[in-house]
Symmetry: C2
Subunit: 253 residues, 2 copies
């Protein structure tokens, strides 16, 4: 349960320009020298075992991380032990921006599975941002993605009821898979029910019931962590049109 020792393992390194995630990480328009500068700045393939922490709340910020394989969850916890999961980070996602306010992380980051990450030290991050405007733009874009993600979750927690929350989650995970060239209709959930329920602000029992409900309605088929979406249209309907109890059909004023 201790934070993993980083700044290690260069073995098994894959150069950025060969990495399958390069389209996500690498800005276009870097010349040879700039690319080399970037490659030399990154500590490749740090390994984190399942349930180990990438960082803890109040840790001094060392780096920005990019997930290469596996999955990370970030969470805040309260003095009395309640936690709120803030995000799930899958291959291609960047994390660590939370520490910008105080140079210390504001949340915990724990591996949901054995995980590989690239590490960009803050020192190198600063240097890259100073020297390469393109890299700075790319980083700003990633920060924007982080802010947008949190805003969507706020909308979900604040306005939707439980079935809609799950439909929204499944729908956006499906969309994400599609964007990355995986099947949008069939995929494995990277997290346990407990974590997903917490993330979506509901009890595990409620989440389970909502899975059952979507299954009964023939919108999805679930077994364990495998989800098959059989009626994408209806799923997206549930996710988009908030089906208010009484009047779903409002006369357009």
């Amino acid at each position: 349960m201790k934070t993993v020792q980083l700044h290690s393992a260069k073995k098994n390194a894959v150069a950025c320009h060969n990495c399958s995630l390069s389209e996500l990480c690498l800005p276009r328009g870097l010349n040879r020298d700039e690319l080399e500068l970037l490659e030399n700045s990154i500590n490749k393939t740090v390994k984190i075992k399942k349930k180990d922490y990438l960082f803890h709340r109040d840790d001094a910020q060392q780096s920005i991380f990019a997930v290469k394989a596996g999955a990370i969850k970030t969470s805040l916890s309260t003095p009395d032990g309640e936690e709120q999961i803030l995000g799930f980070y899958l291959p291609g996602d960047l994390l660590g921006f939370d520490a910008f306010a105080r140079d210390r992380h504001t949340c915990d980051a724990q591996a949901l599975d054995d995980t590989l990450v690239c590490e960009l030290s803050m020192e190198n991050f600063q240097e890259l941002c100073g020297k390469l405007p393109i890299m700075r733009g790319q980083m700003m874009r990633q920060i924007g993605v982080e802010i947008e993600r949190e805003q969507m979750l706020l909308l979900t927690l604040g306005q939707m009821r439980t079935e809609e929350r799950l439909a929204t989650f499944l729908s956006s995970l499906s969309e994400r898979n599609r964007e990355r060239g995986f099947s949008p209709a069939e995929f494995n959930l990277p997290m346990a029910r407990h974590d997903l329920a917490n993330y979506l602000g509901m009890a595990v029992e409620t989440l389970s019931r909502m899975f059952s409900r979507l299954q009964e309605e023939n919108i999805i088929a679930v077994q364990h962590r495998l989800v098959k979406i059989s009626d994408m249209n209806r799923l997206k309907q549930l996710a988009h049109h908030t089906c208010r109890p009484a009047s779903d059909v409002l006369p357009s004023a």
Copy 2:
């Protein structure tokens, strides 16, 4: 209800080094030339009337804004017209970072009252970030503040009961006032009940009942938008869930 025409009004400008918010905006350690560069980059005192929009969702990002007087709310809305308020921006707060992901704003920003903002165009923002590492650091810090703020709200919406949510909100507004040299025990709420209820993810009626409850318990006294905190300890106890950094030391078990 139209987005205000900006890039105007240099009249009534107050130079940055004379502005009462300078401690919030200005990084330390800028020399004469650097300060001048900053001052020339900023379009001062743009006026927005109550209920006008500073920007809309999908607007191309023109600028980063700093609130000088008044108040701004940002919100997301769903296709069916439900909205979720994401944040309230008071004097000294910066907003506009949401657009980093796509160069377009992801939310709406509306004035809750007649409001003054400073405007820093993205062009100048980029230039400052490139030329002045100190400014870049300051901006990164502000982005971190934004991320942290959203994370706290996620915890609030996901884990707390309604009374706790209100207690947390009042407690942190009080804290904010204290930090800025205003009374932590007596202040005016900058927003209507409707907006606060939405922000805190509850019905207006519930919010009203929670105000009444806190008043019955002699923790606060409210009349309209004026709030007096009569028992700060008990308020903070109720807001106990909230994890704040170093300053928040709770003496009780």
